[in-house]
């Protein structure tokens, strides 16, 4: 049986394996598709839609859509860049993101995508939602102001840590990340070594006592855009 699937991504013929997602097959072939809720090793969630590509002209999330023989995929085009910029700009105004004093600044994936897309200011009005902070745990804090509801922590805690510490409650603009206790993170099994903390793409789930350890200029996204390891990117035109 032939286990190779042939598809075309951005005009380049590439090969994938059965069951592999478009995102992972493209990555293996050196094509980087922007993503936020996807994290290597976790079951894909398909919620942020940043990885949206056109498959034979129809929008699909590349992190959940398996490769299929003869697919034509448009992964990084001007019109997709525009859509992805919109998504990132909406995330920036939807929470309360104060990059200037955030421990995660310089290694935050949301910020890094905004940099890669050349965003200098979101075009939507800021919403300033009310979000709760939980600093009850001795080694970890949750700042829901920065949470983008990617569910990486939910999946990592459930599938890797085997703890089910995190979940969601509420719907729409009222949706928040929850802990598996009456109120406080301190009353859960959460530990600072949990995978759940490591995978949070933003500064929402943060270890205490170790902020700002890497000097400015040497943080992961200070010099090179996110995704550069797979596919280098010239700085796009800012706007």
């Amino acid at each position: 049986m032939n286990n190779t699937i042939n598809l075309v991504v951005d005009g380049r013929p590439i090969q994938g394996r059965p069951g592999q997602s478009i995102l992972e097959a493209a990555q293996a072939a050196g094509i980087w598709i922007p993503r936020l809720c996807y994290s290597k090793g976790l079951v894909p969630h398909g919620s942020c839609r940043l990885c949206t590509v056109y498959v034979n002209g129809r929008p699909q999330s590349a992190c959940t859509q398996p490769v299929a023989e003869g697919m034509f995929v448009e992964a990084n085009s001007q019109r997709l860049l525009e859509l992805r910029r919109d998504l990132v700009e909406m995330l920036l105004i939807d929470g309360n993101h104060f990059c200037m004093f955030c421990e995660k600044s310089g290694s935050c994936e949301l910020q890094a995508l905004a940099y890669r897309f050349g965003i200098t200011a979101p075009r939507y009005p800021y919403l300033w939602p009310q979000r709760e902070l939980d600093a009850s745990h001795p080694d970890i804090f949750i700042d829901r102001n920065r949470c983008i509801l990617c569910a990486r922590c939910v999946r990592a805690s459930r599938d890797v840590d085997g703890k089910h510490v995190f979940g969601f409650y509420g719907r729409g603009p009222g949706k928040r990340v929850a802990v598996n206790a009456h109120v406080r993170l301190a009353d859960t099994d959460a530990a600072v070594t949990d995978k759940a903390l490591e995978v949070c793409p933003v500064g929402a789930l943060v270890p205490k006592h170790q902020g700002f350890t890497v000097p400015i200029g040497q943080r992961p996204f200070d010099q090179r855009p996110i995704g550069s390891d797979t596919q280098p990117e010239k700085a796009p035109k800012t706007r």
């Binding site: 104060f98 200037m100 940099y115």
Partner: protein
């Protein structure tokens, strides 16, 4: 040919962005050759003398006076730049945006633990500009033509952007110069 004119102001900001303008080091001499400063804290000129080519705004709008100054800049400046995170998203002053104004004022003037305010009232003098309900980014008040994020934007980012704007070119900064911190 007359030199192009620039003007600057600090609204609800900390003057850090103005410090970053000065941080262009010896290029400040070159800037002096290139431009003429109109209204700015750098020359302490309080009123516009006429139309200006580029206006740099530090800080967002936290009170009515900020709004008036910003509108005055919009009227006088051909190109208006939001300089720094406070102008772009409110910055640290905007931390109060998630708290109702009344609660903020009561915390500051009535209930604060280190407070000495014998009459327990919130100051209400005509001399004090009225606070807005929240801190607004400049582009939510007037049209802004160019955004330079950063807290503060680096001297290199300011210099590169100014050179481009003064020569009527689009501002296209390299990756390392667009930062939100």
């Amino acid at each position: 040919m007359a030199k192009p004119k620039i003007a600057t102001t600090s609204l609800a900001g900390c003057f850090g962005c103005h410090m970053s303008i000065l941080d262009i080091d010896e290029r400040i001499l070159e800037l002096g050759q290139l431009v003429e400063f109109d209204k700015s804290p750098i020359n302490d000129l309080k009123r516009f003398r006429g139309p200006v080519d580029v206006g740099l705004i530090e800080g967002g709008c936290c009170n009515e006076e900020n709004v008036r100054v910003l509108q005055d800049f919009r009227r006088h400046c051909r190109v208006l730049v939001s300089l720094g995170d406070c102008a772009i998203m409110g910055g640290v002053p905007a931390l109060r945006n998630m708290i109702p104004l009344k609660e903020c004022l009561e915390e500051a003037f009535c209930h604060g633990v280190t407070l000495h305010n014998t009459n327990g009232r919130i100051p209400n003098d005509a001399e004090i500009p009225l606070l807005l309900d929240k801190v607004y980014p400049c582009h939510e008040v007037v049209k802004i033509d160019c955004f330079l994020p950063g807290c503060p934007p680096s001297a290199d980012a300011i210099w590169e952007a100014l050179l481009a704007l003064l020569h009527g070119k689009p501002v296209e900064l390299p990756y390392e110069l667009i930062k939100y911190d």
